[in-house]
């Protein structure tokens, strides 16, 4: 994960350096603020990845070792549902709410009902997975 945190740190540094240069040459508000917050956003991302990296105490993941074999990645990779009705319901609900911003109450009403149903459905689906998949030998590959 070394390269991952280095790339994000580099992006943060670049944006903050650009912010400093831009602010002290132009004193223009909008762009300076945007560059500054862009830089801080990447510091957050960097900090998160660094935390994950430190948590591994120097043991690299299989995908970070140049000599890793496929068997080193054995075990459950992650949870991948194959089909689900909820993304499309959530999407339609979201779009209806957004169009409600133009056309008003009726779109809002339909959109909110769809959104509510979809959010509940999404979560119930995720719960059902933890019940059915809790094998005792399960060990996660990605954190």
């Amino acid at each position: 994960m070394k390269l991952e945190w280095r790339v994000t740190l580099g992006a943060a540094f670049f944006l903050l350096a650009a912010f400093a240069l831009y602010w002290f040459t132009s004193y223009e508000d909008a762009g300076s603020v945007l560059l500054f917050f862009g830089g801080t956003a990447y510091i957050l991302l960097f900090a998160f990845i660094l935390l994950q990296y430190k948590r591994r105490h120097g043991t690299p993941r299989a995908e970070d070792r140049p000599d890793a074999n496929q068997s080193d990645g054995a075990g459950e990779v992650a949870f991948f549902p194959s089909n689900s009705i909820w993304p499309v319901s959530l999407g339609i609900g979201f779009v209806f709410v957004a169009v409600g911003l133009v056309y008003g109450a009726w779109y809002f009403a339909i959109g909110f009902i769809l959104l509510l149903g979809a959010v509940i459905g999404f979560n119930v689906e995720a719960d059902s997975r933890t019940e059915s998949d809790s094998h005792p030998e399960q060990h996660s590959h990605t954190e």
Binding site: A11, E63, N69, Q70, V77, P81, S82, S84, V102
Partner: protein, 558 residues
């Protein structure tokens, strides 16, 4: 070496990475599959097909624009409708075609190239597709309202977008539609970055990822910086229109120039968001069709990263003529971008150098891309210089420049990518003969359309005008340009025919028809549900080539 042609051979190796599934039942088909699938390949195809349909729509709008401009004092459409047409043409091409097509490629190809079974958040991924589709439809539905679609140009300058100047639902639908595609882009970016960071196959260290994946990663970094700015600017203009705030309304102390800053802080990275994934596409095609690894791999990665970085600091070069921006800062950074882009050109030519070139349609489009994108890049360097920009701002020279970059660059690479990965998507080869007809018509039509527009701009024709007087020296060039656009339209028809005939009776492609080196060629065409039955050992940036050409491993300098 687990990658061998015959399937039975493969079955001997057990699936090494076990996967949990929620619904182990039978796969749905047809519309249900389209609507409910969370498979990254299905979603990628959804993105690409949808955005291609939007491309056809916006291309038809472009035909109307060129028909209006074919002779002086022409009245095919009214001026108000003309404004709506060029606005929606630009908006759809930028927000609903080029970007989402790249997202579709990212969805389909990135997990395959890094050896992942799917994207990191499959349901979230499907959700962002539906937001994108809803946004695109909302955007174009403005044409169905009584007052027509938005008519203020694709960058929606304030105060023209204020309620006083643009009343009617069309403008609101534009704001909502663009906002929805923006959300969709942010979600896709989160998904792709997480996938690349967390789901690579063992041995696939960052510096073995194909350049396409690197470029997608940097693109998604830019999306994360740029799109939130756009969506918040759209929220502000919405508040201005409906809740009587005055962010951009000069009459009440608002600042129209603030909109320009916010929009271009999004808009310039957006240009690179639209072009970096396609740099990745042509890099893959050059390497595969030259039978060589990418020349200067780390230089390519460095160039991509520095283009991504620099593109964050050049937004105001769209705003030179406002007189309110710091010219030296933006001119210097804009000119600097030419350096990493030059490195990329050098490395593409280096990849072809002494290679065994295969001049099929995908490769022809990439070579065409080298010429047309270079021209667009050179006029970009010219326009980065304030004295020239003051002369040429808002003329057809800009129109020519941006189409050479966006069409001659990105769209040519779209076609290269279609021809290159179509066998992987469908298991069938697009017809090469028709492909070459398509390329020739497209290349000729494209240059005939947009090259004269440079000269039109130098002769003072402003962009966005719907009617122009005769005897300005513009008549012949406009005629040429319109004829060129019809040739482009014709070429698209040959492409559609090629799709049609290929899907019906196209020649079967094997798993690896181009003898490609990256991991997507290690799975079946089209890939099965969780992509890989087994993976070859990953020891370089083209593991499949190593598996298929063991003799190369002993060569010096590999």
């Amino acid at each position: 070496m687990t990658i061998i042609e015959e399937r039975p051979e493969r079955q001997e190796h057990p699936v090494e990475r076990r996967l949990a599934e929620i619904v182990p039942g039978p796969e749905p088909h047809g519309f249900v599959k389209y609507a409910t699938s969370t498979d990254h390949k299905q979603i990628g195809v959804n993105y690409m097909v949808t955005s291609f349909l939007f491309f056809l729509f916006a291309g038809a709008l472009a035909m109307v624009i060129r028909t209006q401009l074919i002779v002086p004092n022409n009245h095919v459409v009214s001026l108000d409708v003309y404004n709506q047409i060029f606005t929606i043409h630009g908006t759809v091409m930028i927000f609903v075609f080029l970007g989402p097509f790249a997202f579709g490629l990212a969805n389909y190809i990135v997990p395959l190239q890094i050896g992942a079974p799917d994207m990191a958040f499959p349901r979230f991924n499907a959700f962002s597709y539906w937001l994108y589709l809803g946004g695109g439809l909302t955007l174009v539905s403005g044409f169905l309202t009584s007052s027509g679609a938005a008519n203020f140009g694709w960058f929606g300058y304030a105060p023209l977008t204020e309620a006083v100047h643009s009343p009617g639902a069309g403008a609101d639908l534009w704001i909502i539609g663009v906002g929805l595609t923006g959300f969709s882009g942010i979600f896709t970016a989160i998904n792709v970055v997480t996938t690349i960071f967390m789901l690579r196959a063992p041995g696939m260290v960052m510096f073995r990822m194909p350049i396409f994946c690197w470029n997608q990663m940097v693109t998604m970094f830019l999306v994360l910086l740029a799109f939130p700015v756009l969506t918040s600017a759209l929220a502000l203009i919405y508040l201005d229109r409906h809740f009587h705030t005055h962010f951009f309304d000069p009459g009440d102390g608002g600042q129209p120039i603030l909109w320009q800053h916010l929009f271009w802080f999004f808009g310039h990275p957006e240009v690179y968001i639209l072009v970096l994934p396609y740099f990745g596409v042509v890099t893959e095609v050059f390497a595969t069709m030259s039978r060589k690894p990418v020349f200067g791999y780390k230089g390519m990665v460095g160039a991509t990263l520095s283009i991504g970085g620099l593109s964050m600091g050049v937004w105001a070069h769209h705003m030179y003529t406002t007189g309110a921006v710091l010219l030296p800062f933006f001119a210097a950074l804009s000119l600097l971008i030419a350096v990493p882009t030059g490195i990329k050109f050098f490395n593409w030519i280096g990849t072809m150098w002494r290679g065994t070139l295969v001049l099929n349609t995908a490769m022809l489009f990439c070579i065409g891309f080298l010429f047309t994108f270079l021209l667009g890049g050179l006029t970009g360097v010219m326009l980065a210089e304030p004295p020239l920009d003051f002369q040429l701002h808002d003329t057809y020279f800009i129109v020519a420049h941006l189409h050479y970059v966006m069409f001659g660059g990105s769209a040519f690479a779209v076609f290269a990518g279609i021809f290159y990965w179509f066998p992987k998507f469908t298991g069938r080869m697009l017809h090469e003969g028709w492909g070459k007809v398509f390329f020739v018509l497209m290349f000729v039509g494209f240059n005939l359309t947009f090259f004269p527009q440079h000269d039109l701009g130098l002769r003072g024709m402003q962009r966005r005008i719907g009617i122009y007087p005769a005897h300005q020296g513009w008549d012949f060039l406009n005629m040429l340009s319109s004829i060129g656009s019809y040739i482009m339209g014709l070429s698209i028809i040959t492409l559609l025919w090629n799709f049609w005939r290929t899907l019906r009776k196209g020649e079967r492609a094997g798993d690896n028809p181009w003898d490609g080196g990256t991991l997507e060629w290690a799975c079946a065409s089209p890939p099965s549900h969780h992509n890989f039955e087994s993976l070859p050992p990953i020891r370089s940036e083209r593991p499949v080539w190593d598996a298929n050409h063991p003799e190369d491993l002993t060569k010096v300098g590999h």
